[in-house]
Subunit: 159 residues, 2 copies
């Protein structure tokens, strides 16, 4: 009768781990003056990164679909980012309902700083693993996450 410390699917434990990471990230960011000053929330960086890494300036709808964020929540996040001067909302001339969200140079600079904070948090969480295993874990996580992002956004089955 082994105590089976970790059962087959550590589903809720992973959910918990994600919450801890978000929390730790939020705490670390609260120490950064440039972030507090702009009123940046954790979700802002997910959006900022998606805008910057995307090939073309995406619409808010596409952005929300890709990240799994509700369009209504995206509004506030983009308001903050725009007020901070990190992104710009330009009307899509071909479809004036849409905004074409573009990243600014300051936005790209902010991403680098954000990456530094994220690296600190990642060290706290994944630092318990030896370097090789940690690399493997991060690679696998990226594969899972990107697979789900594609499945939600572009992976759609067009009728």
């Amino acid at each position: 009768m082994e105590p089976q410390v970790a059962d087959a699917p550590p589903v809720l434990a992973l959910a918990r781990l994600g919450a801890v990471m978000r929390r730790a990230f939020s705490v670390r960011m609260a120490e950064e003056a440039w972030a507090v000053d702009a009123g940046l929330r954790p979700g802002c960086f997910s959006v900022l990164r998606a805008v910057a890494t995307g090939a073309t300036a995406p619409s808010q709808r596409a952005l929300g679909d890709q990240l799994g964020i509700d369009p209504s929540d995206l509004v506030g996040l983009l308001d903050v980012l725009e007020a901070a001067g990190y992104v710009e909302r330009r009307r899509d001339p071909a479809d004036r309902r849409r905004y074409a969200v573009e990243v600014t140079d300051e936005g790209r600079h902010a991403i680098e700083q954000f990456e530094g904070v994220a690296a600190t948090v990642a060290d706290d969480v994944f630092g318990v693993l030896p370097r090789q295993d940690r690399q493997t874990l991060e690679d696998l996580l990226v594969r899972v996450i990107t697979a789900h992002e594609e499945g939600a956004a572009g992976g759609g089955s067009p009728p």
Copy 2:
């Protein structure tokens, strides 16, 4: 300066993935009559599992420290579990402030059913990976999670 297609530390993405898992778990559970009937919330199963796998009947304080759940939130979760007949709160005779939380036979049975639901969710999330990689990922996650649980609970340095 690599183009860093997939960010160095997928911190927020992992946080997002955790939220997705919790959500998916909640949705799947909403379809199970035995869970809805008892008013079980996702966190209940984390607690139930911790109570069952622990060597001795833990106090609520120890339980909260291990799982990273605030004692005040643990109250409600245990109320639900006790009302469902899955756990019992017995006064610790050696220290009448504490409760010794014990799992019942029905509680153990509920864990098995819960594991089935969790397995379904895990398939949805990790199913995008080939079997071998999935196994590796789950193992690494378990190592990280247990390391943090030990660090939070048993890691204390008793004076």
